[in-house]
Protein backbone atom coordinates (compact mmCIF):
# COMPACT_ATOMS: atom_id res chain seq x y z
CA UNK A 1 0.00 0.00 0.00
CA UNK A 2 1.42 3.32 -1.08
CA UNK A 3 -1.48 5.19 0.52
CA UNK A 4 -0.90 6.51 4.02
CA UNK A 5 -2.99 4.81 6.68
CA UNK A 6 -6.47 6.28 7.19
CA UNK A 7 -5.51 6.96 10.81
CA UNK A 8 -7.83 9.31 12.67
CA UNK A 9 -9.72 10.02 9.45
CA UNK A 10 -10.81 6.36 9.32
CA UNK A 11 -14.37 6.83 10.60
CA UNK A 12 -15.00 9.86 8.37
CA UNK A 13 -13.63 8.04 5.33
CA UNK A 14 -15.79 5.02 6.15
CA UNK A 15 -18.87 7.24 6.35
CA UNK A 16 -17.93 8.94 3.07
CA UNK A 17 -17.46 5.55 1.39
CA UNK A 18 -20.90 4.44 2.58
CA UNK A 19 -22.45 7.70 1.41
CA UNK A 20 -20.94 7.41 -2.07
CA UNK A 21 -21.94 3.75 -2.41
CA UNK A 22 -25.52 4.52 -1.38
CA UNK A 23 -25.88 7.58 -3.60
CA UNK A 24 -24.57 5.60 -6.59
CA UNK A 25 -27.25 2.96 -5.89
CA UNK A 26 -29.88 5.70 -5.85
CA UNK A 27 -28.68 7.14 -9.18
CA UNK A 28 -27.71 4.07 -11.16
CA UNK A 29 -31.14 2.49 -11.65
CA UNK A 30 -32.50 5.72 -13.07
CA UNK A 31 -29.37 6.27 -15.17
CA UNK A 32 -29.50 2.70 -16.46
CA UNK A 33 -33.13 2.89 -17.54
CA UNK A 34 -32.51 6.12 -19.45
CA UNK A 35 -30.05 4.13 -21.60
CA UNK A 36 -32.06 0.94 -22.03
CA UNK A 37 -34.75 1.33 -24.71
CA UNK A 38 -38.29 0.69 -23.50
CA UNK A 39 -39.13 -2.31 -25.68
CA UNK A 40 -42.36 -4.21 -24.90
CA UNK A 41 -40.27 -6.78 -23.02
CA UNK A 42 -38.58 -4.16 -20.87
CA UNK A 43 -41.93 -2.48 -20.32
CA UNK A 44 -43.50 -5.73 -19.06
CA UNK A 45 -40.48 -6.45 -16.91
CA UNK A 46 -40.74 -3.00 -15.34
CA UNK A 47 -44.46 -3.50 -14.79
CA UNK A 48 -43.76 -6.71 -12.88
CA UNK A 49 -40.92 -5.13 -10.90
CA UNK A 50 -42.71 -3.22 -8.10
CA UNK A 51 -44.67 -6.24 -6.89
CA UNK A 52 -41.60 -8.42 -7.31
CA UNK A 53 -39.50 -6.08 -5.16
CA UNK A 54 -42.20 -6.05 -2.48
CA UNK A 55 -42.58 -9.83 -2.40
CA UNK A 56 -38.85 -10.51 -2.65
CA UNK A 57 -38.20 -8.13 0.26
CA UNK A 58 -40.96 -9.29 2.55
CA UNK A 59 -41.10 -13.08 2.16
CA UNK A 60 -37.53 -13.86 3.33
CA UNK A 61 -37.93 -11.31 6.14
CA UNK A 62 -41.03 -13.16 7.35
CA UNK A 63 -39.05 -16.36 7.16
CA UNK A 64 -36.31 -14.77 9.30
CA UNK A 65 -38.57 -12.91 11.72
CA UNK A 66 -40.88 -15.80 12.42
CA UNK A 67 -44.51 -16.81 12.79
CA UNK A 68 -45.68 -13.72 14.68
CA UNK A 69 -44.33 -11.45 11.93
CA UNK A 70 -46.22 -13.42 9.30
CA UNK A 71 -49.49 -13.00 11.23
CA UNK A 72 -48.84 -9.27 11.66
CA UNK A 73 -48.23 -8.79 7.94
CA UNK A 74 -51.40 -10.72 7.09
CA UNK A 75 -53.34 -8.52 9.51
CA UNK A 76 -51.88 -5.44 7.77
CA UNK A 77 -52.76 -6.77 4.31
CA UNK A 78 -56.28 -7.61 5.47
CA UNK A 79 -56.70 -4.09 6.87
CA UNK A 80 -55.44 -2.68 3.59
CA UNK A 81 -57.99 -4.71 1.60
CA UNK A 82 -60.82 -3.53 3.82
CA UNK A 83 -59.85 0.08 4.35
CA UNK A 84 -57.11 1.04 1.83
CA UNK A 85 -55.26 3.03 4.45
CA UNK A 86 -51.53 2.58 5.06
CA UNK A 87 -51.83 4.24 8.45
CA UNK A 88 -54.50 1.82 9.60
CA UNK A 89 -52.59 -1.14 8.15
CA UNK A 90 -49.45 -0.04 9.98
CA UNK A 91 -51.35 0.41 13.26
CA UNK A 92 -53.13 -2.96 13.14
CA UNK A 93 -49.92 -4.71 12.03
CA UNK A 94 -47.89 -3.15 14.85
CA UNK A 95 -50.65 -3.90 17.36
CA UNK A 96 -50.69 -7.51 16.20
CA UNK A 97 -46.92 -7.96 16.48
CA UNK A 98 -46.74 -6.24 19.87
CA UNK A 99 -49.56 -8.41 21.22
CA UNK A 100 -48.11 -11.62 19.81
CA UNK A 101 -44.62 -10.85 21.15
CA UNK A 102 -46.03 -9.90 24.54
CA UNK A 103 -47.77 -13.28 24.59
CA UNK A 104 -44.44 -14.91 23.95
CA UNK A 105 -44.66 -15.89 20.29
Amino acid sequence: MTLPDPGTWGPMLAIAAMAVATYLCRLSGVALMSVIPLTPHVRRGLAALPGSIVVATVLPLIERLGFAAAIALLVAIGTMILRRSELLALLTGMAAISALRALGF
Binding site: T22, P37, G45, A48, V58, L73, L90, G93, R101
Partner: protein, 263 residues
Amino acid sequence: MQAPRPCPLTQAGAFRFWMAMPPEPQTQTPAPAAPITVGGMWLGLRKVSVLMPGVIVFAVAFGAAAAAKGMSLLETVLMSALVYGGVSQLVAMELWRPEWTWGAIAGLAVVTATVNARMILQGAVLQPWFAQYRKTLNAFHLFFYTDANWLIGTRYHNEGGRDLGVLVGAGVALWLVWVVATIPGHVLGALVSDPRRYGIDLVMPIFFAAMIVPLWRGRQAAVPWVVAGIAALITAKLFDGYAFIIVGSLAGAVTGAFRDDTA
Protein backbone atom coordinates in the same frame (compact mmCIF):
# COMPACT_ATOMS: atom_id res chain seq x y z
CA MET B 1 -30.39 19.81 -29.21
CA GLN B 2 -33.75 18.14 -29.59
CA ALA B 3 -33.31 15.08 -31.76
CA PRO B 4 -36.38 13.89 -33.65
CA ARG B 5 -38.11 11.06 -31.85
CA PRO B 6 -36.40 7.90 -33.10
CA CYS B 7 -38.27 4.76 -33.99
CA PRO B 8 -37.68 2.31 -31.13
CA LEU B 9 -37.43 -0.69 -33.46
CA THR B 10 -34.54 0.65 -35.51
CA GLN B 11 -32.56 1.64 -32.46
CA ALA B 12 -30.20 -1.19 -31.64
CA GLY B 13 -29.16 -1.37 -28.02
CA ALA B 14 -25.49 -0.67 -28.60
CA PHE B 15 -26.23 2.30 -30.82
CA ARG B 16 -28.63 3.76 -28.29
CA PHE B 17 -25.94 3.51 -25.68
CA TRP B 18 -23.88 6.17 -27.45
CA MET B 19 -26.88 8.21 -28.41
CA ALA B 20 -28.29 8.35 -24.94
CA MET B 21 -25.42 10.14 -23.31
CA PRO B 22 -26.02 13.60 -24.94
CA PRO B 23 -28.69 15.93 -23.52
CA GLU B 24 -31.79 14.35 -25.08
CA PRO B 25 -32.88 12.40 -22.00
CA GLN B 26 -36.03 10.55 -23.01
CA THR B 27 -37.33 9.24 -26.29
CA GLN B 28 -40.45 7.35 -25.40
CA THR B 29 -42.33 9.87 -23.27
CA PRO B 30 -43.45 12.93 -25.21
CA ALA B 31 -45.49 14.13 -22.25
CA PRO B 32 -44.09 17.35 -20.75
CA ALA B 33 -42.92 17.31 -17.15
CA ALA B 34 -45.66 18.06 -14.68
CA PRO B 35 -44.89 21.14 -12.58
CA ILE B 36 -43.47 20.65 -9.11
CA THR B 37 -45.85 22.34 -6.72
CA VAL B 38 -45.82 23.25 -3.06
CA GLY B 39 -49.15 21.48 -2.81
CA GLY B 40 -47.45 18.33 -4.07
CA MET B 41 -44.76 18.66 -1.44
CA TRP B 42 -47.42 18.97 1.26
CA LEU B 43 -49.15 15.91 -0.11
CA GLY B 44 -45.85 14.01 0.07
CA LEU B 45 -45.35 15.20 3.64
CA ARG B 46 -48.85 13.98 4.55
CA LYS B 47 -48.28 10.62 2.87
CA VAL B 48 -44.97 10.05 4.63
CA SER B 49 -46.15 11.29 8.04
CA VAL B 50 -47.69 7.85 8.62
CA LEU B 51 -44.17 6.49 8.84
CA MET B 52 -42.70 9.18 11.08
CA PRO B 53 -43.19 7.41 14.45
CA GLY B 54 -41.51 4.28 13.14
CA VAL B 55 -38.67 6.25 11.56
CA ILE B 56 -38.09 8.20 14.77
CA VAL B 57 -37.74 5.06 16.85
CA PHE B 58 -35.55 3.46 14.17
CA ALA B 59 -33.30 6.55 14.14
CA VAL B 60 -33.11 6.59 17.93
CA ALA B 61 -32.17 2.91 17.87
CA PHE B 62 -29.44 3.62 15.31
CA GLY B 63 -28.13 6.54 17.37
CA ALA B 64 -27.99 4.32 20.44
CA ALA B 65 -26.20 1.55 18.53
CA ALA B 66 -23.68 4.07 17.17
CA ALA B 67 -22.99 5.46 20.66
CA ALA B 68 -22.49 1.93 21.93
CA LYS B 69 -19.95 1.36 19.14
CA GLY B 70 -17.99 4.44 20.22
CA MET B 71 -18.94 6.73 17.36
CA SER B 72 -18.93 10.44 18.16
CA LEU B 73 -22.15 12.44 17.89
CA LEU B 74 -20.78 14.25 14.83
CA GLU B 75 -19.92 11.00 13.07
CA THR B 76 -23.31 9.51 13.91
CA VAL B 77 -25.26 12.51 12.63
CA LEU B 78 -23.07 12.72 9.52
CA MET B 79 -23.74 9.09 8.73
CA SER B 80 -27.50 9.56 9.08
CA ALA B 81 -27.39 12.72 6.98
CA LEU B 82 -25.09 11.50 4.20
CA VAL B 83 -25.89 7.80 3.92
CA TYR B 84 -29.58 8.04 4.85
CA GLY B 85 -30.25 4.33 4.63
CA GLY B 86 -31.48 2.86 7.89
CA VAL B 87 -30.80 -0.83 7.34
CA SER B 88 -27.38 -0.24 5.80
CA GLN B 89 -26.43 1.99 8.74
CA LEU B 90 -27.42 -0.68 11.24
CA VAL B 91 -25.49 -3.28 9.27
CA ALA B 92 -22.51 -0.92 9.29
CA MET B 93 -22.69 -0.89 13.07
CA GLU B 94 -22.05 -4.63 12.99
CA LEU B 95 -18.87 -3.95 11.03
CA TRP B 96 -17.81 -0.76 12.83
CA ARG B 97 -14.36 -0.76 14.36
CA PRO B 98 -12.05 1.57 16.25
CA GLU B 99 -9.20 1.31 13.72
CA TRP B 100 -9.72 1.56 9.97
CA THR B 101 -7.68 0.18 7.10
CA TRP B 102 -8.34 0.99 3.45
CA GLY B 103 -9.43 -2.62 2.98
CA ALA B 104 -11.98 -2.35 5.80
CA ILE B 105 -13.34 0.89 4.33
CA ALA B 106 -13.68 -0.68 0.88
CA GLY B 107 -15.36 -3.72 2.42
CA LEU B 108 -17.85 -1.51 4.23
CA ALA B 109 -18.63 0.30 0.97
CA VAL B 110 -19.29 -3.02 -0.78
CA VAL B 111 -21.55 -4.28 2.02
CA THR B 112 -23.42 -0.96 1.99
CA ALA B 113 -23.88 -1.18 -1.77
CA THR B 114 -25.30 -4.71 -1.54
CA VAL B 115 -27.70 -3.76 1.24
CA ASN B 116 -28.84 -0.72 -0.73
CA ALA B 117 -28.78 -2.34 -4.17
CA ARG B 118 -32.57 -2.54 -4.05
CA MET B 119 -32.51 1.24 -4.65
CA ILE B 120 -31.15 0.53 -8.15
CA LEU B 121 -34.29 -1.40 -9.01
CA GLN B 122 -36.54 1.04 -7.20
CA GLY B 123 -35.05 3.87 -9.23
CA ALA B 124 -35.53 1.89 -12.43
CA VAL B 125 -39.24 1.47 -11.67
CA LEU B 126 -39.92 5.19 -11.53
CA GLN B 127 -37.42 6.27 -14.20
CA PRO B 128 -40.09 6.90 -16.88
CA TRP B 129 -41.56 9.49 -14.52
CA PHE B 130 -38.21 11.04 -13.54
CA ALA B 131 -36.97 11.21 -17.14
CA GLN B 132 -39.26 14.14 -17.84
CA TYR B 133 -37.33 16.29 -15.41
CA ARG B 134 -33.86 17.84 -15.61
CA LYS B 135 -30.91 15.66 -14.64
CA THR B 136 -29.71 18.05 -11.95
CA LEU B 137 -33.16 17.97 -10.35
CA ASN B 138 -33.17 14.17 -10.44
CA ALA B 139 -29.69 14.08 -8.97
CA PHE B 140 -30.99 16.26 -6.15
CA HIS B 141 -34.20 14.46 -5.23
CA LEU B 142 -32.67 11.00 -5.68
CA PHE B 143 -30.39 11.76 -2.74
CA PHE B 144 -33.56 11.56 -0.62
CA TYR B 145 -34.89 8.44 -2.36
CA THR B 146 -35.71 5.65 0.09
CA ASP B 147 -37.98 2.63 0.47
CA ALA B 148 -40.72 4.88 1.82
CA ASN B 149 -40.30 7.29 -1.08
CA TRP B 150 -40.39 4.50 -3.58
CA LEU B 151 -43.56 3.00 -2.11
CA ILE B 152 -45.30 6.38 -1.93
CA GLY B 153 -44.10 7.38 -5.40
CA THR B 154 -45.08 4.09 -7.02
CA ARG B 155 -48.59 4.20 -5.62
CA TYR B 156 -49.01 7.90 -6.43
CA HIS B 157 -47.76 7.41 -9.99
CA ASN B 158 -49.94 4.30 -10.52
CA GLU B 159 -52.95 6.34 -9.48
CA GLY B 160 -52.13 8.92 -12.15
CA GLY B 161 -50.21 11.44 -10.05
CA ARG B 162 -47.34 13.21 -11.82
CA ASP B 163 -46.23 16.01 -9.47
CA LEU B 164 -42.64 15.25 -8.50
CA GLY B 165 -43.10 17.55 -5.51
CA VAL B 166 -44.73 14.61 -3.71
CA LEU B 167 -41.44 12.72 -3.75
CA VAL B 168 -39.39 15.79 -2.88
CA GLY B 169 -41.66 16.66 0.05
CA ALA B 170 -41.80 13.13 1.39
CA GLY B 171 -38.04 12.59 0.94
CA VAL B 172 -36.82 15.81 2.53
CA ALA B 173 -39.28 15.55 5.44
CA LEU B 174 -38.30 11.98 6.19
CA TRP B 175 -34.60 12.85 5.91
CA LEU B 176 -34.94 15.73 8.37
CA VAL B 177 -36.76 13.58 10.91
CA TRP B 178 -34.27 10.76 10.44
CA VAL B 179 -31.25 13.02 11.01
CA VAL B 180 -32.72 14.91 13.96
CA ALA B 181 -34.01 11.77 15.70
CA THR B 182 -30.53 10.24 15.51
CA ILE B 183 -29.32 12.80 18.06
CA PRO B 184 -31.46 11.83 21.10
CA GLY B 185 -30.66 8.20 20.31
CA HIS B 186 -26.94 8.90 20.55
CA VAL B 187 -27.27 11.12 23.61
CA LEU B 188 -29.71 9.01 25.59
CA GLY B 189 -28.14 5.75 24.57
CA ALA B 190 -29.99 2.69 25.68
CA LEU B 191 -33.37 4.41 26.06
CA VAL B 192 -34.78 2.23 23.32
CA SER B 193 -32.91 -0.88 24.28
CA ASP B 194 -35.31 -3.28 22.63
CA PRO B 195 -37.14 -1.81 19.64
CA ARG B 196 -38.35 -5.31 18.80
CA ARG B 197 -40.83 -5.28 21.66
CA TYR B 198 -42.86 -2.51 20.03
CA GLY B 199 -42.64 -4.08 16.60
CA ILE B 200 -40.41 -1.30 15.26
CA ASP B 201 -38.40 -3.81 13.24
CA LEU B 202 -41.63 -4.57 11.39
CA VAL B 203 -42.54 -1.03 10.31
CA MET B 204 -40.96 -1.28 6.88
CA PRO B 205 -42.03 -4.92 6.24
CA ILE B 206 -45.62 -3.99 7.15
CA PHE B 207 -45.53 -0.98 4.86
CA PHE B 208 -44.09 -3.15 2.08
CA ALA B 209 -46.67 -5.90 2.57
CA ALA B 210 -49.55 -3.41 2.58
CA MET B 211 -48.37 -2.20 -0.86
CA ILE B 212 -49.38 -5.56 -2.35
CA VAL B 213 -53.02 -4.49 -2.18
CA PRO B 214 -52.87 -1.34 -4.36
CA LEU B 215 -50.38 -3.09 -6.68
CA TRP B 216 -52.72 -6.05 -7.24
CA ARG B 217 -53.76 -6.45 -10.87
CA GLY B 218 -55.25 -9.93 -10.78
CA ARG B 219 -53.81 -13.40 -10.56
CA GLN B 220 -52.15 -13.39 -13.99
CA ALA B 221 -50.11 -10.29 -13.17
CA ALA B 222 -49.08 -11.85 -9.86
CA VAL B 223 -47.29 -14.83 -11.42
CA PRO B 224 -43.95 -12.92 -11.60
CA TRP B 225 -44.37 -12.04 -7.91
CA VAL B 226 -44.60 -15.73 -7.04
CA VAL B 227 -41.40 -16.38 -8.98
CA ALA B 228 -39.79 -13.40 -7.21
CA GLY B 229 -40.84 -14.75 -3.83
CA ILE B 230 -39.54 -18.25 -4.47
CA ALA B 231 -36.24 -16.97 -5.88
CA ALA B 232 -35.83 -14.65 -2.90
CA LEU B 233 -36.55 -17.41 -0.38
CA ILE B 234 -34.02 -19.74 -2.00
CA THR B 235 -31.39 -16.99 -2.18
CA ALA B 236 -31.98 -16.08 1.48
CA LYS B 237 -31.46 -19.72 2.42
CA LEU B 238 -28.20 -19.97 0.47
CA PHE B 239 -26.58 -16.61 1.20
CA ASP B 240 -26.35 -14.31 4.20
CA GLY B 241 -27.10 -10.65 3.80
CA TYR B 242 -29.60 -8.95 1.55
CA ALA B 243 -28.82 -10.35 -1.91
CA PHE B 244 -32.24 -12.02 -1.86
CA ILE B 245 -34.01 -8.73 -2.65
CA ILE B 246 -32.09 -8.22 -5.89
CA VAL B 247 -32.13 -11.85 -7.03
CA GLY B 248 -35.84 -12.23 -6.31
CA SER B 249 -36.85 -8.90 -7.85
CA LEU B 250 -34.87 -9.53 -11.03
CA ALA B 251 -36.29 -13.03 -11.33
CA GLY B 252 -39.79 -11.53 -11.10
CA ALA B 253 -39.03 -8.82 -13.65
CA VAL B 254 -37.55 -11.30 -16.13
CA THR B 255 -40.57 -13.56 -15.69
CA GLY B 256 -42.84 -10.60 -16.31
CA ALA B 257 -40.87 -9.56 -19.38
CA PHE B 258 -41.12 -12.92 -21.14
CA ARG B 259 -44.41 -14.32 -19.89
CA ASP B 260 -46.83 -12.74 -22.30
CA ASP B 261 -45.13 -14.43 -25.25
CA THR B 262 -46.48 -17.80 -24.23
CA ALA B 263 -49.79 -16.72 -22.73
